[in-house]
Structures are given as structure tokens and as C-alpha cells.
């Protein structure tokens, strides 16, 4: 059974996603030692070859996908920027592996915990809870720190599409087909699930599809469709937080501006760095350690 990691990388004119992807790739190869394939477009890949030629060969396969993607703009650090990530809903069709872990490029793997997902009885592993690494709730996110996160106040559970595992099987094929159905009928599902976010969000589409598969049937113990990842909650730092320093052993010194100002040292813990500039700023150090 083939296994590997899948990255989706499409430059959006705001960040150098290739840089983020290579930083993430280096972490994955160092800690997981697994095959990594890249889903990208011709234009983005051309830039990757120009700027990061010494690392491109680390990829197992390059998969080109030119699926036109609707502009998906969201607030990022009080600025509205465009994300190009909807083809993650095509992960089932695009992945060359029987078992796949989809990893966002701003997710830094710093442990081998993700290897525990291989051969999972559940065909889908994804987290619905997240916590900031300084264990503080965000002051600007009203769904934080009040139990489970939801896609709306009265709505369904929120799942984080930042990193997830799936195994190819009929059930997962149907699941990904459903995500495309939700995407194609977004205005309907938006109303049904009371999401007030004006733009489509992959996390929401995954959440709605998981809910459709998992929660509208009577629970059968031991027959779950979805389970959390080995770290059962997504650890993250807020977009306002910064990676101050990358230590020689890879430990990250995080300066927290969201919530209470504080410093955290993170080592051996996979982490979602929402502040993408922090990864860009420390790219050379990552290459020095993991390259």
C-alpha cells in the first residue's frame, strides 16, 4: 500500500508559497522521512524551479493541476487576501498514494507523530479542536475557548483542513464527491448551516461533509468514519503571533501578541503557523537545520 504526503501550492501574489512549501517539505522529510508529492500549477512550479532548484528534487512527484479556482478572499491580519486552495477538494483524485496525509504549507511538522496514522481503521483522520500553543484563547475569536469549535454559533462542529489523513476507499471517494457537491452548491449549504462567513472556506466544506457522513446517522460504536489525528487537537499560533527565533535544534521561540503577551518555546510539536511571514522570515535557518 503506497503512502505519502500531499502538498498543494499555488502562489497568490501575496506570499511566496513556494518558500513556505519548501520549508514545510524540509521538516516533513526530516521528521517523517516519507514521500512527498506536490500539487501545483505550471506558473507556480516554474518559480519554484527558478528559486528553489536545489530542493525540488526532494519531491516524489509533481502533479500539475490547472483547475480554475474561484477567488477566495479572507481577512488575514486585518488585510483581505486571496487564497487558492479549493483543489484540495480534489485530493482523492490527485493523490498518487493509497494513504495520503494532506499538509498545509504553513504547518510545520516537528515530530514523527503523523506516522501513527498509517493503517488507521478510520478512513479519515482530521482534528476538530485546536488550541494555541500558549494555551490561551484568542480574544478576537468568539468560538474559541468555549468548548468545541463550530462553523457558526448554533451550527455544526468545525474541522480543520490544515492537516488530514485519508485512505482511498469507496467511502472516501463518496466523501470527496460530496465535498465537491457542497462547493458547487455553496449558497445552499451556507444557508443550511448558518455560516455567515461571506466566502467559501475549505474547512467549512470539509466540516459540512463530515457532518453529513458522520452525524446524521445513529451512532454505531466502533464504526466511526472519522477520528482525530495522533495529536488530537491542532496546535497553532495566531496570525498576530510571531516566530521570534529558530534555535539550532529546531525549537521555535514564539512571541504571542494575541491574548496575553507572552513567549513560548515549541519543540517536538507539530504546529500550524498562521503567521506565514514568520516561516518566510526564518526560511534560511530552516534550510540550515533541515536542508
Amino acid at each position: 500500500m503506497s503512502r505519502g504526503i500531499l502538498q498543494f501550492v499555488h502562489n497568490n501574489g501575496t506570499f511566496d508559497y513556494n518558500k513556505l512549501a519548501i520549508a514545510s517539505l524540509l521538516h516533513i522529510k526530516y521528521y517523517l522521512k516519507e514521500n512527498v508529492s506536490l500539487v501545483t500549477d505550471e506558473s507556480t512550479f516554474k518559480q519554484m524551479q527558478q528559486n528553489y532548484s536545489e530542493h525540488v528534487d526532494l519531491y516524489d512527484q509533481i502533479i500539475f493541476d490547472e483547475t480554475p479556482m474561484e477567488n477566495n478572499s479572507r481577512l488575514y491580519n486585518e488585510e483581505r487576501i486571496t487564497f487558492k486552495n479549493f483543489n484540495r477538494l480534489l485530493a482523492y483524485d490527485l493523490s498518487p498514494y493509497d494513504e495520503t496525509i494532506v499538509v498545509d504549507v504553513d504547518y510545520l511538522v516537528q515530530s514523527d507523530a503523523l506516522k501513527l496514522v498509517w493503517d488507521s481503521p478510520e478512513p479519515l483522520r482530521i482534528n476538530r479542536e485546536s488550541v494555541s500553543v500558549n494555551n490561551l484563547t484568542w480574544t478576537d475569536d468568539k468560538f474559541r475557548g468555549v468548548g468545541k469549535q463550530r462553523i457558526s454559533d448554533t451550527g455544526i462542529d468545525f474541522y480543520w483542513g490544515t492537516v488530514f489523513y485519508f485512505r482511498k476507499c469507496d467511502e472516501m471517494k463518496a466523501f470527496f464527491d460530496h465535498t465537491k457537491y457542497v462547493y458547487d452548491n455553496w449558497s445552499f449549504f451556507q444557508k443550511v448551516h448558518f455560516t455567515h462567513e461571506p466566502n467559501i472556506r475549505v474547512d467549512h466544506i470539509l466540516s459540512m461533509s463530515i457532518h453529513a457522513f458522520e452525524s446524521n446517522t445513529l451512532p454505531i460504536p466502533g464504526n466511526s468514519f472519522v477520528a482525530p489525528l495522533p495529536y488530537d487537537r491542532l496546535m497553532d499560533i495566531h496570525v498576530k503571533d510571531k516566530v521570534l527565533k529558530v534555535c539550532a535544534n529546531g525549537a521555535l521561540i514564539i512571541s504571542h501578541a494575541a491574548g496575553v503577551q507572552s513567549l513560548t518555546k515549541v519543540q517536538g510539536l507539530d504546529i500550524h503557523i498562521m503567521n506565514k511571514e514568520s516561516i518566510e522570515n526564518h526560511f534560511d535557518k530552516f534550510v540550515e537545520i533541515y536542508g
Binding site: K142, F143, V146, G147, K148, D153, T154, G155, I156, D157, V192, H193, F194, H211, S215, N216, T217, L218, P219
Partner: protein
């Protein structure tokens, strides 16, 4: 000889609410969902319409002991279950409930206990209710977290003594509250509070073996954008529907177990009652 088992529900109409109609809906839902125990006893002080009668296995009239015949909130008689239940083993239910799926396994789990209260309730999203918004008297006065919405008892000496105590507590609830609940003294009598006080007076710890139900009091649902201090009808806050086969979906969540809808007009919304009657009619035809 096998012990008889059944659900008991107390329904006394008020000027605002036809509680017997709610009990009728509850009884139909029990008949439609329960695989083993599906007997239902209605305890009431009123004549029961012909169409309602068939849904109940037993109808017991409240006698002259009606504790507070003039009350608008007819919970003062919630001590009568022991005396009036025709079953050896009974499950008390609140009247504004619907059974969504089979809970027959509860009966064997309860067997061997004299009484088993519900000690935890759930939100429509199947989260354990952690809010104490309605339970400050419990929290501050350290009462056990007893709910009487689904409450098992077996006829035996200890439960008989318990219900005798509950009767006295109901009859003297104002002075009892002043004495036992010095903090956040509730202004109205509550069966949950009375029963919790009785457990404490008996010096017993109520067993928690997992009886539970979905409680739709809006302030415990974990909603952030609804002011709990306002009077909110949850049916106006969140989308809800039911399927023709009787599945109840609240906010896109399929309900399981017992659904305590609280909002008394819920069963008349979205044509739910008519469709429940249709399904029950088919069930009766198939049963005969």
C-alpha cells in the same frame, strides 16, 4: 413472575397548554421507537379524548390529593408517581418529550437499583450540558444534579419512603426552600430541586448510570450570541425539521434518545404532530 415495566407521565391541562396532547405525542413516539418496554401510563385529572386513549396502556385519575389545584404550573403533584404507577418498575417522564430512538437497554441497566435519576443532560449537539445557568440553586447549595425528566424507580420500601418524603417536601416547599436553599432560593417549586433535596435528606448519593436526554432550554446550548437573560424561543433561533419517518433534526443534528423540547408548541410546528399521528396510525394497523 416478571416485573411489569412502563413509562409514567403526569399531564394536567392548564389554560395555556394542552398537556394531555403533549403526553399523547410522547406516548405515540414511545410506541414507535421502543423495542421492549413501551407501556405508557397517563396520570391526569381530566377526561381523556377518545383519540388519545389508544396511545396509553393505562390511564390513572388523580384523586382528591391534588396538591395545588389552582396552580398554573402543574408540577406540584409530581410526588404521585409511586402511588399511582401501575408498574413494578417505572420510568417517570416529563410530558414535553419525544422519543427519537430506542432506549430499551436502560431498563436492564436500572434493574437492581431502587431509583435512578438522570444526572446529566445533553444539548442538541450531543454535548454534555455544563452550564449551570438554570441550576444556581443546585450549585450554590451543593445539591446533587438530579433531573426528574427521565427518572427510574422500582416499587420497594426505600423508594416508597422516598416518595413519601417528596410529597411532604412539595407540600411545604416554601419553608423547605428557605431552610435548605439559603443561597439563590428559587422563587418557584421545581421537581428537580425537590427530588435533589430528598436525596440529600435520605443521606444517599444518586447513582449516575448514564440516563440522559436532550434538554432544549436555550441557555444551556452553548450559544454565544444569544443573551441567556432574555426570553428566547429556541425554535425561532435555530432551524429544525423532521422527516416523514420521524427523525428529528435540530440545527442539522439528528436527535437520538429522548428529546425534551421544552417549547410547548414545538410538536405543532412543521406539521410534526399530524405526521406523527399518521405514522402511529400505520403502526397500529400493522400491529393488528
Amino acid at each position: 413472575m416478571d416485573k411489569t415495566r412502563g413509562y409514567v407521565v403526569l399531564a394536567q391541562n392548564t389554560t395555556d397548554v394542552d398537556y394531555i396532547e403533549l403526553a399523547y405525542a410522547l406516548a405515540m413516539s414511545i410506541k414507535l421507537t421502543q423495542s421492549s418496554v413501551n407501556k405508557v401510563c397517563l396520570i391526569t385529572d381530566q377526561e381523556v379524548e377518545f383519540k388519545h386513549i389508544e396511545a396509553f396502556d393505562d390511564i390513572v385519575r388523580i384523586n382528591e390529593d391534588d396538591t395545588d389545584p389552582d396552580s398554573d404550573w402543574r408540577i406540584n403533584n409530581k410526588w404521585m408517581y409511586y402511588d399511582l404507577s401501575p408498574y413494578d418498575q417505572s420510568m417517570i417522564l416529563d410530558v414535553d418529550m419525544i422519543f427519537c430512538s430506542d432506549v430499551s437497554h436502560w431498563w436492564d441497566a436500572c434493574a437492581g437499583y431502587d431509583m435512578v435519576p438522570t444526572m446529566n443532560v445533553r444539548t442538541y449537539r450531543d454535548d454534555k450540558v455544563i452550564s449551570t445557568f438554570y441550576r444556581n440553586a443546585f450549585r450554590l447549595n451543593k445539591l446533587q444534579n438530579v433531573y426528574t425528566g427521565a427518572y427510574y424507580f422500582e416499587k420497594c420500601d426505600s423508594s416508597e419512603q422516598f416518595f413519601k418524603l417528596v410529597k411532604e417536601l412539595f407540600r411545604n416547599w416554601k419553608s423547605v426552600y428557605q431552610t435548605v436553599l439559603p443561597l439563590h432560593t428559587p422563587p418557584n417549586v421545581s421537581a428537580d430541586v425537590i427530588y435533589a433535596i430528598a436525596w440529600d435528606i435520605m443521606g444517599r448519593v444518586a447513582p449516575d448510570i448514564g440516563l440522559s436526554f436532550v434538554h432544549m432550554k436555550f441557555a444551556v446550548q452553548g450559544w454565544q450570541n444569544v443573551n441567556p437573560n432574555t426570553d428566547v424561543d429556541w425554535t425561532e433561533v435555530i432551524m429544525h425539521y423532521s422527516s416523514d419517518d420521524g427523525r428529528i433534526v435540530i440545527g442539522n443534528w439528528l436527535q437520538t434518545g429522548i428529546f425534551h423540547y421544552v417549547q410547548k408548541d414545538y410538536i405543532h410546528q412543521n406539521d410534526y404532530m399530524n405526521r406523527l399521528e399518521e405514522r402511529y396510525g400505520v403502526f397500529l394497523l400493522q400491529s393488528k
